[in-house]
């Protein structure tokens, strides 16, 4: 009996492992999950603070924006809150694999900037800091700029890939409010649609030395019937971690093996 179980287990593992290994590599390649820096081992240290008493969030982090909204929400929840046009587009995007602008080296937008690839949060290490930056090594080699000098959003900003972000502290939590986003990117790797009405409120809390919780409330009356919240976790890289250079447009051959010729793909 035991022997037959072992055989069953072995066969199942072989059957599953092959595509799993390839898929696992793919997540690394496509979404950057395995491109990121090595994660630091757990340490028993307090969350660091700057001279002005604010929590120091700076460092190289990995993760914190990967995972699809559909899977982060309850089963059926996303489907239940998408407006009919968004539901239709979501189904189309899922049926036509490969048209995510991210795969043609376009920016992934603010939700995905912390996903997969390593990223560095740069927090001005003084009092009266005016800016916080998030630098993403991957994809479009891009950054987010967050104003923390108390300014308001502009009245009617021209939509951009990363929008207009203002930050403030609520105790030890950094709250980032973003508007002014275009609708040219997919909100997540699952293909969730959005409109230029997208309004994101992110709450970053360093729950321990190695862990950054990112709670994101997404509001877009153009695409969803109500706001919803998804939570991600970023992990600190090892102390020697640095972000590296990655220029997606350099040699993108995406689509060629399947017979397509997509924008920004080289022959």
């Amino acid at each position: 009996m035991r022997k037959s179980l072992v055989v069953v287990v072995a066969v199942s593992i072989v059957g599953v492992a092959l595509p799993f290994v390839a898929q696992s590599q793919d997540l690394g390649r496509r979404l950057g999950g395995e491109n990121g820096p090595r994660r630091a081992a757990a340490v028993d240290r307090p969350v660091p603070k700057l001279a002005d008493g604010k929590v120091d969030l700076s460092g190289v982090w990995s993760g914190g924006g990967d995972g699809t909204i559909e899977r982060l929400l309850k089963p059926g929840e996303l489907d239940g809150i998408m407006l009919p046009w968004a539901k239709k587009l979501y189904a189309e995007r899922n049926a036509t694999d490969g048209l995510d602008p991210y795969f043609t080296c376009m920016p992934g937008g603010p939700l995905r900037i912390t996903g997969g690839f390593g990223w560095r949060l740069v927090q001005h290490p003084t009092t009266n800091s005016t800016h916080i930056f998030m630098l993403q090594e991957g994809n479009a080699h891009t950054y987010r700029q967050i104003f923390v000098d108390g300014r308001k959003h502009p009245e009617d900003p021209s939509p951009t890939w990363y929008g207009h972000s203002i930050g403030r502290w609520e105790g030890d939590t950094l709250v980032i409010d973003t508007i002014g986003l275009n609708d040219k990117f997919w909100l997540d790797s699952g293909g969730t649609p959005h409109t230029e009405q997208l309004h994101m409120v992110e709450r970053y809390t360093r729950t321990d030395f190695n862990t950054l919780r990112r709670e994101v409330t997404i509001q877009d009356p153009g695409a969803f019937t109500r706001p919803f919240t998804v939570t991600f976790t970023a992990r600190l890289g090892t102390p020697d971690s640095e972000i590296l250079e990655y220029i997606c447009i350099e040699n993108n051959q995406y689509g060629l093996a399947q017979g397509l010729s997509l924008p920004n793909a080289k022959k």
């Binding site: 590599q25 795969f103 293909g191």
Partner: protein
């Protein structure tokens, strides 16, 4: 026994979850087209978003086939211990992977074995 079976089923589910991931590598490559190529590296593109290793293989009749194997990004490979010189032009390798949906010889690598029997890191395993 029942408990072992439960464990088995549970492991299966855990392992299967990533298979359902959206926008998989299977857009470009066909899981039903496993390939194994023994040949010589003719060109290395140490580039992003992915590195590409070009291999020429010769069959028994002497027919030469050129392959373009996609590999991970330079970041993933460097963090896995590679440099641009790890697999140089002229190296003999055996690469396994999966052929492209439309162009079989545009393939994706899942394992690499050097002529002296070393298995090279392909992408970070496990975590």
């Amino acid at each position: 026994m029942r408990r072992e079976l439960t464990t088995l089923v549970a492991s299966f589910i855990v392992l299967s979850v990533p298979l359902a991931a959206h926008h998989s590598w299977t857009a470009d490559y066909d899981a039903a087209k496993p390939v194994t190529v023994k040949g010589v590296v003719t060109k290395v593109e140490w580039t992003n978003p992915h590195t590409h290793f070009y291999i020429e293989s010769k069959d028994e009749k002497g027919t030469v086939t050129s392959w373009n194997f996609e590999m991970a990004s330079t970041l993933a490979l460097e963090r896995g211990g590679w440099s641009r010189k790890t697999l140089p032009v002229g190296a003999e390798v055996t690469i396994s992977g999966f052929g492209g949906r439309a162009v079989t010889e545009r393939a994706i690598a899942s394992s690499i074995m050097t002529a002296d029997g070393r298995s090279l890191f392909v992408a970070k395993p496990g975590n």
